[in-house]
Subunit: 528 residues, 2 copies
């Protein structure tokens, strides 16, 4: 296509949202009109299903739950008065709590104000807050935020070491819907232990964001934590950033949560329009479908050209892959759906893997994110008439062009600035694009049955561990691995027993391995 024809295609397909000053350019996706025509009936179907979902239909049939994260941005849409009240009151509660923390009305026992936030959560309870903190936290935020998002002991130690004596002025936010997910539970116990070791009262510095009546809710109430905020069963983890899960950490950092909600609401209105060319989420879903043939044949590479959006691709990685990566469609057919997502930021990634994108396996499509405003102050010239920001912009345009010339497709989102309103809008845009795409390919985007398998297998491993330790106590001399497996009641699973004792032995847990590590089958084990 000539440059002029491409310019025409750019104009023909440009989506512009006036209120948000947001552009979506899909001109570099090489679909034709015939493809679009074949997709129109599918989109009609998807728009209709989305409408039912927003009206409170059970859109998560496996779990018999409503999908209500859209109501968070506009409580008038909630299907009943109780839900509406709950949404409005939670936001009021967040505001009043944040006000009291910032003013010192709520303060730690040993100081007049809290200085830091320590957020303990994983998955949807970490990625949204981390993305928003990186994107929007001020250079000198109202409170600095830290995250424990894993059950890695060394990682927990590092966060606690960084906090040091400021632990006494740290507000701990424990985020877990059930309270039963091991990672946040373990993180909480480790942090409670650190408080105890320093002679601090954890309950006076902790809040919980959790399901009403959950184990965590009960614990927080029985121990007299400062307060709790609700996690509703109609909000999934990966779409919870605009619920208390995301709003509490954001507000504590001084980020304007009203603007975030407002931006999401505006984008929600735009993405509700049941017309392909007027709906930016539908246009995204169209491109995804085109690129991967509705089967995820191509990876989605996300490249924001702005440092503060670094974590957006990780956020999308969860949102897209956990929503769309499904074995079966809604009719029970095995489909192995999904779209793999990766990316960090431009131009940085140009110096990492754009070599492969341009020349190598053509198994991806790109999403560029352009931010028009370079910085808050004026720029110096790095060459006559040229700024650092001009380079950032030029390198984006140049890379988009160079890739297109090699038949690598790309989408480009352009936003004026990284503000709470735009971040809210981006979250809402992709929420909806994923939902629409899910309907296009006829899957349930709102559950995650595959996550359980690893957890169950892990529970089995921990159960074997306890049997192994029990069995070893009865032995006076080293015994072979196979004997230990037999005595622990898992004669076939010598490998698991081996892995368990190797890990325990490395951590001074009263177990010693004897023999040649290169020949695990020959090892013997004893209680130390």
């Amino acid at each position: 296509m000539t440059a002029s024809a491409l310019w025409q295609r750019y104009q023909d397909w440009l989506y512009y949202h006036e209120g948000l000053d947001f552009y979506l350019d899909i001109s570099r996706m090489r679909f034709d009109d015939r493809f679009v025509e074949t997709m129109l009936p599918k989109f009609e179907h998807a728009f209709a299903q989305m409408k039912d979902l927003e009206a409170g239909a059970i859109a998560n049939p496996d779990e018999n739950r409503m999908v209500g994260h859209y109501w968070l941005r506009n409580s008038d849409l909630a299907p009943n008065a109780d839900l509406k009240k709950d949404i409005v009151e939670t936001i009021q509660q967040i505001e009043s709590f944040t006000h009291d923390v910032h003013s010192g009305a709520i303060h730690p026992p040993s100081a007049t104000k809290f200085t830091d936030v320590l957020s303990i959560g994983i998955g949807g309870s970490a990625l949204g807050p981390q993305f928003v903190a990186e994107a929007l936290s001020a250079d000198a935020p109202a409170m600095a935020i830290h995250f424990i998002d894993n059950t890695d002991p060394a990682g927990i130690d590092r966060v606690l070491a960084k906090l040091g004596d400021r632990l006494s002025t740290t507000l701990v936010v424990v985020i877990s819907k059930s309270g039963g997910t091991p990672e946040p539970r373990n993180g909480m116990l480790e942090v409670q232990n650190a408080f105890q070791e320093k002679g601090l009262d954890f309950s006076k510095q902790a809040i919980a964001i959790t399901g009403t009546g959950s184990n965590l809710d009960q614990l927080a109430k029985s121990e007299g934590w400062i307060t709790t905020f609700p996690m509703h069963d109609w909000v999934g983890g990966r779409t919870s950033e605009l619920s208390a899960v995301g709003l509490v950490p954001a507000a504590l950092q001084g980020i304007n949560i009203h603007e975030m909600l407002e931006g999401a609401k505006e984008m929600d209105i735009a993405t509700r329009i049941p017309d392909l060319k007027s709906n930016p989420a539908a246009l995204l879903a169209l491109c995804w479908y085109f690129s991967g043939d509705g089967k995820g044949k191509k990876d989605m590479v996300v490249l924001p050209y702005k440092d503060s959006l670094l974590l957006f691709s990780r956020y999308l990685q969860q949102l897209v892959m956990e929503s769309l990566g499904k074995e079966k469609d809604l009719d029970g057919n095995v489909v192995h759906q999904g779209i793999a997502v990766y990316g960090n930021k431009g131009t940085t990634d140009q110096h990492a893997y754009v070599q492969q994108l341009r020349e190598g396996v053509p198994n991806f499509f790109l999403t560029f994110i352009e931010v028009l405003k370079d910085r808050s102050s004026a720029s110096i010239e790095v060459e006559p008439g040229v700024t650092s920001g001009d380079y950032l912009s030029g390198l984006l345009q140049g890379t988009r062009k160079a890739l297109y010339e090699n038949e690598r497709d790309s989408i480009t989102l352009t936003i004026p600035e990284v503000t709470p309103r735009m971040v809210g809008a981006l979250i809402a845009l992709y929420d909806r694009a994923v939902g629409l795409y899910g309907f296009l390919v006829n899957i349930n985007s709102y559950h995650q049955p595959g996550v359980e398998a690893g957890k169950k297998a892990a529970a089995v491993v921990l159960d074997v561990q306890s049997k192994v330790m029990e069995a070893l106590k009865k032995e006076n001399t080293p015994i072979p691995l196979a004997t230990l497996a037999l005595n622990a009641g898992v004669p076939d699973d010598v490998e698991s027993v081996y892995k368990i004792v190797r890990h325990l032995a490395a951590n001074n847990r009263g177990i010693t391995l004897h023999g040649d590590p290169a020949k695990p089958g020959s090892l013997t084990v004893s209680a130390t």
Copy 2:
């Protein structure tokens, strides 16, 4: 396969390195013996080519350069006495410089000691140092490190804001082989400007790591910077972590660079062995070839179960994708090679996208990285007899098992602890695996011709920008975009002109757009 058969396969294929206490398990890659046999001649060929390369053959034919990063870890292998001397002296120079900085013998004009390091570099000059800092920097390092790895003005401002008044005690390390790469050049100019605005003398606080005689080298010498360290033309950016590029930032943080080099040397020795089963890098290359059919059909998902290894997958993303992502093989055939790499860390990613890995598109293989030692101190119990680290370990084993049951293959690396020696060994292991794989698929792993295209296209954009600004000066009234494109000498490229003026207008650069942003074809432009 039954659990017992898998345990046998585990033992049959286990690689163990005694000196490093390093394990490589490829039993969950479902290749059979026949596949291995067909690969043996290819490996013989690859081992022979690797031997020539290490002996100083021109292994980078396009650029007529030797590939010498292996010599950095063992200078005795350098092909001549001058190179050997250079390697040894550079390491001595790094040690003596670091000693002087830490002792205060070298100090900033206004204080007795430097407190922080600000590293300015991109691609290979950033990813290695960032990975190593995250993996190995102490809780209270000798000097805290900060990175400018982009030409994003807001990103640069954020780093400078974080440093604040400590800029006066910050040692700036500018890393650029030629000094001509725009991103580090722009970063340097921005930081020089910040020094000037604070009345500080940049040259008294700056060092350069650059090619001898480069523009940057000349600048540093003419301005009297503290010192310079060499970047050799026989070390590529993505394999430069164990050259001055990585060693200077590491040493300044107080990381033991001798152990890093020693670990790499030990792994180099192991990965030189021309025998598949005795060579862990060859085993990795075998798995990659098997999984993607030697054509990169599957993505490599890298999941270290240890927070401090978070950036290892980003480091590998560059190393693997830039090395292997090539359009043509060495015979000039169009092959579109490469392997896409992504991943963050476990268990965290289990709560993000393992749903898709287990159930969705089977377009990947996994690499688990297990770290046996949980933390430096003893652990509390989170349940009777169970620690946070047991959960981390159990969730890794459980996920590996659950994925294998769904026919998702995985490799597992096990290391005792994240130490400088192990990090050096991991870097060396993957260096060699990539090199061997490159020979297996007959490509040049040591150049990156595709990176230039985006840069050239960006230069064109910046050139058009200057013509646009020139052309606009001559106008008294707003003119249509198409007229502006014509006057700027690019009548066909209205789209580039549009993008340029939209960006300039958003940054108060003396340009105004008039009309409806939704209809870019109708816009007119004027100098403000």
